[in-house]
């Protein structure tokens, strides 16, 4: 069992490394890449938006009593904006995308594998890794940061509404406080880590799909384990990111 896990890690690492080798080869599949970006945005925009909004609202409402206790109610926008932008919006976005995009890629490539469509690409003079995997991984790596930035904005807006339920915080005051609090050192690392989230989600979905077992239940399994593994990796990357920013004194 332990041995199998290490073999799997080795295979995934090799598959992930192949991405960079194939990426620099000529003949970028540009139209397929654009199509994938569009799919990803289209598929998860509303879900990411709604979830981010609710998280912003709820976190603000729940943080309020604690701050009131210390007479620090005025700090509400400060505190909430840091946790939303640094942690909650990026991780929520990544988890939603692992569930929607990662499983989608796993299922799509898995069914292409078992119905021999991937073999058919080889026969048609196309490298399926380049055509299917590189385009999808590039698309997730680009789109998940964009979705995360959008989630930042929406969740902060949710925070604004949350702050206004009991007290009154003017629009200008809220945003002034938010932007005063958030410095480069908060925002940049949180955006950089979303590129890694995106890459991992794309790679794991593709790996699982590409290595689907024969038969249709293999496809379901690929989609399922793509979600489990990429969600786990999102948390691991998040943990590493917080360690790194800690060392660099950016926390």
């Amino acid at each position: 069992m332990v041995k199998e896990i290490f073999i799997e890690i080795g295979l995934i690492t090799r598959f992930a490394g192949r991405f960079f080798r194939e990426l620099i080869k000529p003949q970028l599949e540009f139209s397929e890449f654009v199509r994938q970006c569009f799919f990803i945005g289209n598929k998860s925009l509303s879900l990411v938006g709604i979830t981010a909004f609710i998280m912003g609202l709820v976190i603000t409402i729940q943080s309020r009593p604690t701050l009131v206790e210390f007479g620090a109610e005025a700090w509400l926008p400060k505190m909430v904006s840091v946790s939303l932008v640094r942690e909650i919006a990026p991780v929520i976005t990544a988890l939603i995308c692992a569930g929607k995009i990662g499983s989608g890629i796993g299922a799509e490539l898995g069914s292409m594998k078992v119905t021999e469509q991937i073999d058919a690409m080889y026969v048609s003079g196309t490298n399926p890794y380049k055509f299917l995997v590189v385009t999808r991984v590039m698309a997730t790596t680009l789109m998940i940061p964009i979705l995360a930035i959008m989630a930042d904005g929406v969740s902060l807006y949710g925070g604004y509404l949350g702050a206004n339920i009991h007290g009154i915080v003017s629009w200008d005051l809220y945003w002034n406080q938010v932007f005063d609090t958030l410095v480069f050192g908060d925002v940049l690392p949180s955006i950089i880590k979303t590129f890694f989230f995106g890459y991992v989600i794309g790679i794991i979905g593709s790996y699982k799909g590409f290595n689907s077992n024969r038969g249709t239940e293999g496809v379901g399994q690929s989609a399922n384990s793509a979600v489990v593994i990429s969600s786990l990796l999102v948390f691991i990357i998040d943990l590493l990111a917080v360690q790194i920013t800690d060392v660099l004194n950016l926390n």
Binding site: T115, E116, Q117, D119, A120, Y122, V123, S124, G125, N127
Partner: protein, 257 residues
């Protein structure tokens, strides 16, 4: 080739020129020895059926020929190229001349029939104008009798139609050799017969040489110029339909009952 063949059929005469020559081919997956020193020749212009039980390694054999799998040992020459020596771009060039019809059709679900047919044309970088591509697509669809499906999605088609579209996609590059993987499996007997006759038409029209993997005896009867039996990873018996159907060998007889 040794076997039960008598040279009554022009297709078994040894002086015909071979387009595929396989010698001493070995392939195993772990402990599962699938091909065990197999020898095979495909002669120009013939329809050769490879008959064998399911799981006997028929698909593995033709996937090795097209370079989708690597043999463990032995030599495979296709149109005078040793496929084990080719790099990937040479392999792509060879694949323009060798068509492959997949058992599960392998139509791209996310593309229309037209895009499916254009795919090999575009991907093999065959430089043509838009009108020329369109003409080739329509010609291939007419060859299989389905020109009206050009803008449909594969999911809208019946099993028999999908098989025809897959065949059209194979034909669009005008291959010299076609490898059919169980072309009639999963189709009803009437559709199976239609597909079999279509394969004969294609052989006549384009003078293609084909390896047809099958265990559908009705299809075999229609399309085969010559039959080879794949038993225990080797080609055991060869001959025409008539010759094999009167064979005394039990392993051969069971297919013709």
């Amino acid at each position: 080739m040794d076997g039960t063949a008598v040279n009554t059929n022009i297709f078994t005469k040894p002086d015909r020129d071979a387009v595929i020559t396989i010698r001493n081919l070995y392939k195993s997956f772990g402990d599962n020895k699938v091909l065990n020193g197999l020898d095979l020749d495909l002669y120009r212009g013939e329809n050769m059926v490879v008959l064998g039980k399911s799981g006997s390694g028929k698909s593995v054999l033709i996937k090795i020929i097209i370079g989708l799998m690597r043999p463990d040992n032995g030599s495979v020459h296709v149109l005078n190229h040793d496929i084990c020596q080719l790099n990937s771009s040479q392999l792509d060039k060879m694949r323009v001349k060798v068509g492959f019809l997949f058992q599960s059709n392998a139509l791209y679900d996310s593309m229309t029939v037209r895009e499916n047919l254009e795919f090999p044309l575009r991907r093999h970088w065959i430089k043509t104008t838009k009108e020329e591509v369109n003409r080739l697509v329509m010609e291939a669809l007419k060859n299989v009798g389905l020109p009206h499906t050009v803008d449909m999605m594969p999911s809208e088609l019946s099993g028999g139609m999908r098989k025809r579209i897959a065949l059209a996609r194979t034909l669009i590059l005008k291959p010299e050799i076609i490898l059919y993987d169980e072309p009639t499996t999963g189709l009803d007997p009437i559709t199976g017969k239609e597909i079999s006759h279509l394969m004969l038409d294609i052989q006549k029209k384009y003078n293609t040489s084909s390896i047809i993997i099958s265990h559908d005896i009705n299809c075999v009867k229609i399309v085969a110029n010559r039959i080879v039996m794949l038993i225990d990873g080797k080609c055991e018996a060869t001959g025409t339909y008539h010759e094999l159907s009167i064979s005394k060998d039990n392993r051969v007889k069971q297919f013709f009952e």
